[in-house]
C-alpha cells in the first residue's frame, strides 16, 4: 500500500497540533505502508512564508516533498475577508477568496496531486480548512481520506466545505463531538468514518523530582501546557486561578509551559517556564497535581491525552464540547463553566487524594483503550481495508458552482451556521461503523467497561462558547 500524507507544514520543529498529528500518523503508518509526505515550504502558520527549500528531503525515514507557497498571507486582507464570510451574507466567490487569503496557497502542490492521483492508494489530507486540503481533496476525491481536525469555529460554517465533507472517501475524526458537528453540517452520514484521534509517545518513567529540582519548584502545583493566549482561555484561567487562591485559600501554584502571546500576571503563585522540550514537559506534567485546559476550541487536546497517559487528572473548560465530552466519557477529568466551578473543582482535586488518584487511573485506562498507538494504527488500517473492499466510484464530489452562481450573495454567514449546529458533549461513544472489523485488540476493547449504547449519541445542552470574530480567528487560527 502506498499512502500520501498532505499537510500544510511538516518538520521536526513544527509543533502545531494538526501538523504534529500528521507527522505522528505518517511515521506510524510507515510501519505498514510506503508513506510520502507532501507539504509546503512554509514554517510560520501566520505568514506562510517560504522558509524551506522546495524539493524532496527525508525526515525520520519518510520522503517529504515540499512545494512553494504562491503568496504570503496578508493579515489585513485575510481579516477583512474573514469578517465578510463569517459575519455577513456573502457569495461562494467570497469564500474562495477567503480560502486563498488564508493560505498556504500552493497551486503547484495541487497540480502535483492532480498529476499523481493514481500513484498512491490513498491521500490523507489534514486540516479541512486550508488551501491544500480543499483543493487537494477535490483533485483526488476518489482516494481522499480527510482528517478534518475541525473545531467549532465559524470557518466550519462556510458552504464550500460541505461538498468536501460529503465527497471524500472517508473521514477520520478526532472526537465524537467533531463527527456529530460535521455530520449535522454536511449530512455525510453515509461517508465511511471513524473516530481515531492520535496517540502520543509518552515516556514510561517521567522524572517529577528532576523537574522540581531543575526549575526549583516546591509544593503542589497545577500545570498548563500550550500557547499562552487569550483565545486559549488563558485570561479566564488567570482570573479564575486568582479567585481560587483568594477565595478558597488554595495551596496549588500554577506553572505555565509554552510561549506567551499575552502578559502573564506577576504573582508568586504563577510560574511561567516558557517553551520546554518534551522531556521537561512530561516531567512537569508528571509532577503536577492536575493539568488545566482552559481552551474554548479544541478538536482534540493532545496535552490532555498526555496528562491522562501519565495518570494525571485534567480540569477542562466546560465550554469546549470536546474536552467536556472526553472528561465525562473517560471519567478522568473535571470541568468548569464558571469561576465558582473552577475553584471548587480545583479544590476538590487538591484536597481529595482519592479523587485525584481515581481520575488519574481512569485517564490512564482511557488513553490505553482509545489512544494507544496500536489502536490508532489499527483504525487507520481498518478503514483502508474497508475502502479497498468498497466500490470506488460510488461517490463523487460536487463541483464548484459556475461563474454567475458563484457570485450570487446567498451564503449564510459562517458564524450563524455554526451557532445553529447542535452543541454539547457526546456522553456515550456511539459504535463505530467499522468497529466490527477492528479485531486487532479485542481484549482491549472488552476492558472498556459497560456495553455501549447502540442508540444515537446523546447530546447535552450546553452554553455556546463565545463566538470568535474573524479578526481573532485570523490572528490565532491554528488547528
Amino acid at each position: 500500500m502506498k499512502l500520501a500524507v498532505v499537510v500544510q507544514r511538516y518538520g521536526l520543529g513544527v509543533n502545531g497540533g494538526a501538523e504534529l498529528h500528521a507527522r505522528y500518523v505518517a511515521e506510524r503508518l510507515a510501519r505498514h505502508a510506503t508513506v510520502d509526505v507532501l507539504t509546503t515550504c512554509a514554517l510560520d502558520y501566520v505568514t506562510w512564508r517560504n522558509e524551506l527549500t522546495k524539493g524532496t528531503e527525508e525526515i525520520n525515514g519518510l520522503t517529504v516533498r515540499r512545494f512553494l507557497v504562491s503568496h504570503e498571507r496578508e493579515p489585513l486582507r485575510f481579516a477583512s475577508r474573514s469578517e465578510r464570510v463569517f459575519g455577513e451574507t456573502h457569495s461562494v466567490a467570497d469564500e474562495l477568496q477567503w480560502l486563498d487569503a488564508e493560505g498556504p496557497s500552493s497551486p503547484t502542490l495541487v497540480s502535483y496531486i492532480s498529476r499523481h492521483v493514481a500513484d498512491y492508494d490513498y491521500w490523507i489530507f489534514f486540516s479541512y480548512r486550508y488551501y491544500h486540503a480543499f483543493h487537494g481533496a477535490r483533485a483526488a476525491a476518489r482516494r481522499a481520506v480527510l482528517v478534518p481536525t475541525a473545531e467549532r469555529d465559524p470557518a466550519l460554517g462556510l458552504s464550500i466545505f460541505k461538498p468536501v465533507f460529503r465527497g471524500v472517501r472517508a473521514l477520520m475524526y478526532n472526537s465524537p463531538e467533531e463527527r456529530a458537528v460535521i455530520q449535522a453540517l454536511a449530512g455525510n452520514h453515509d461517508v465511511p468514518s471513524v473516530v481515531v484521534g492520535v496517540g502520543s509517545d509518552v515516556p514510561h518513567n517521567p522524572q517529577p523530582k528532576r523537574f522540581r529540582h531543575k526549575f526549583k519548584i516546591r509544593g503542589p502545583f497545577a500545570i498548563y501546557v500550550g500557547r499562552i493566549d487569550e483565545n486559549k482561555g488563558c485570561r479566564e484561567l488567570f482570573d479564575a486561578f486568582g479567585a481560587y487562591r483568594e477565595a478558597a485559600a488554595g495551596q496549588l501554584s500554577l506553572v505555565l509551559v509554552g510561549n506567551a502571546l499575552m502578559s502573564v500576571p506577576q504573582s508568586p503563585h504563577i510560574r511561567h517556564l516558557g517553551f520546554l522540550n518534551d522531556a521537561d514537559k512530561f516531567d512537569g506534567m508528571a509532577a503536577a497535581e492536575v493539568l488545566i485546559m482552559p481552551s474554548y476550541f479544541e478538536s482534540l487536546s493532545m496535552v490532555a491525552l498526555e496528562a491522562w497517559a501519565l495518570g494525571r487528572p485534567v480540569l477542562a473548560n466546560a465550554r469546549c464540547d470536546v474536552l467536556k465530552g472526553q472528561c465525562i466519557r473517560s471519567n478522568a477529568g473535571l470541568y468548569y463553566g464558571d469561576t465558582w466551578e473552577f475553584i471548587e473543582a480545583l479544590r476538590a482535586i487538591e484536597q481529595n487524594r482519592w479523587l485525584s488518584a481515581g481520575l488519574g487511573r481512569n485517564g490512564r485506562q482511557f488513553f490505553r483503550d482509545h489512544y494507544d498507538w496500536s489502536v490508532i494504527e489499527g483504525k487507520y488500517l481498518d478503514i483502508f481495508r474497508r475502502l479497498s473492499a468498497e466500490e470506488p466510484s460510488r461517490r463523487s464530489m460536487d463541483s464548484l458552482p459556475g461563474w454567475l452562481r458563484r457570485r450570487r450573495p446567498d451564503c449564510t454567514p459562517g458564524g450563524e451556521v455554526v451557532a445553529g449546529l447542535p452543541a454539547g458533549p457526546i456522553l456515550e461513544a456511539s459504535p463505530e461503523p467499522s468497529s466490527a472489523s477492528l479485531v486487532s485488540h479485542p481484549e482491549r476493547r472488552q476492558r472498556t467497561g459497560p456495553a455501549r449504547s447502540t442508540e444515537r449519541p446523546q447530546r447535552r445542552k450546553s452554553t455556546q462558547p463565545p463566538r470568535r470574530t474573524g479578526r481573532q480567528a485570523s490572528k490565532t487560527r491554528r488547528t
Binding site: 471519567n331 470541568y335 465558582w340 466551578e341 476538590a348 487511573r361 452554553t463
Partner: protein
Amino acid sequence: MADLNIRSDSVNVEQIMEQIRERIREKRDVDYTEEQIKELAAVKLERFLDPRGVRSDLLEQFRRARPLPPERPNYAFEEQTLYESHRAPLRWIRRLLRPLLKLFFNPNPLIQALNIQSRLNDREARLEGTRHELDQLNYEVIHNLVVEVTRMGIEVKNVKMRVESLTSRLEFNERRARALEGVVLYKPPTEGTGTVTSEGDADEEVAVDEARPDKTSPEGEGPGQRSRRRRRRRGRRSGASAASVMTGTEQTTGAESIGDTAASRGVVSTTAARDADTQDAGATTSSSPGSAPTGQAVAGPSPAESRAHESTVESPEPASTIPERDPDEQ
C-alpha cells in the same frame, strides 16, 4: 457544607460535578448559574434605566432614530460656474456670447453673492457634521456611563457579599480562637513556685513566680537581698570571690554575662550551668524583653527541671514576673 463523597473504586465525573455544584449552591445560598446572573444583571439594568426613559441599547436607538446626514452637495460657486458645461462646444459658445450677456445685465454681483453663499453653506455643513459627530460621541459617553454605573452597582453588591463572607470567616476564626483558649488549663501553683502550664506541652511555658514573698525566707528580707545572696552563692560556686562577683571585676562567661544583663533588665534568666544543659536540647534559656513580655509565660525547661534549678533563677525585679492576670480569667 456537604463534603465530596467519592468512592475510591469508581469515580463518576458527572456525579462529582453535581456534588460540586451542590457545594457552590450552598455557598452562594442561591442557585444562580452564570447565565442567570447575567439575566439578573440585565433586569437590573432595565430597572435602573427605565425610570429615566433611557434604554440599554441607547446608542443603537439613537443611530436608528437619526439617519446619517445625506451627502453634502457641492456648494462650490466660482466665477466660471455659470458658464461651465461638460460639452466643450457649448462652453465655447457661452464664452463667445458672454460679452453679449453682459450687455443685458451685470452678473458679477450675482456671482459674488452666490460665491459667498457657497462658502457659508460649506461652513454650515462642516459645523453640522461636527455637531453630528459630537452628538454621537455624547450619546456614546452617556451610554458607557450608564453601563459602567450599572456595572459598578453590581460590583458593589458583589463586594458587599464578599465583605459578608469575610465577616463570617472572621467570626468563625474568633470563635475558634476562643475555643482554643478554652482548651488551655490552669494549674494552681505548687508551693514555692508559681507555675502555669498548658495542657499538651509541658515545656512550652514555665513562668517562675518569685515575686511572692517566700514563706521560708526570713521576715523583712526583701527580694533584692535574696538575689544578692544568690549572687554571692553563685560566685562562691564558680570559684570567684564574692566581692569580685558583686563588683563584676572578674571575667565571667558569656552566658553569665547574658544572665546578668538579662537579670539587670528584670527578666527571668538562668545560670551558665543551666544554659549549658538546656541549650543543647534546643530549649530557650534566656530571653530578651522583647521575646518575653511581662506576665507572659517564658519558654524553658520542664517544671521539674525548673524547680531543680530554682536556686539559680534570678528575678531581681519580682514585680515583672508576677502573672498580672488572674489565672481564672484565662
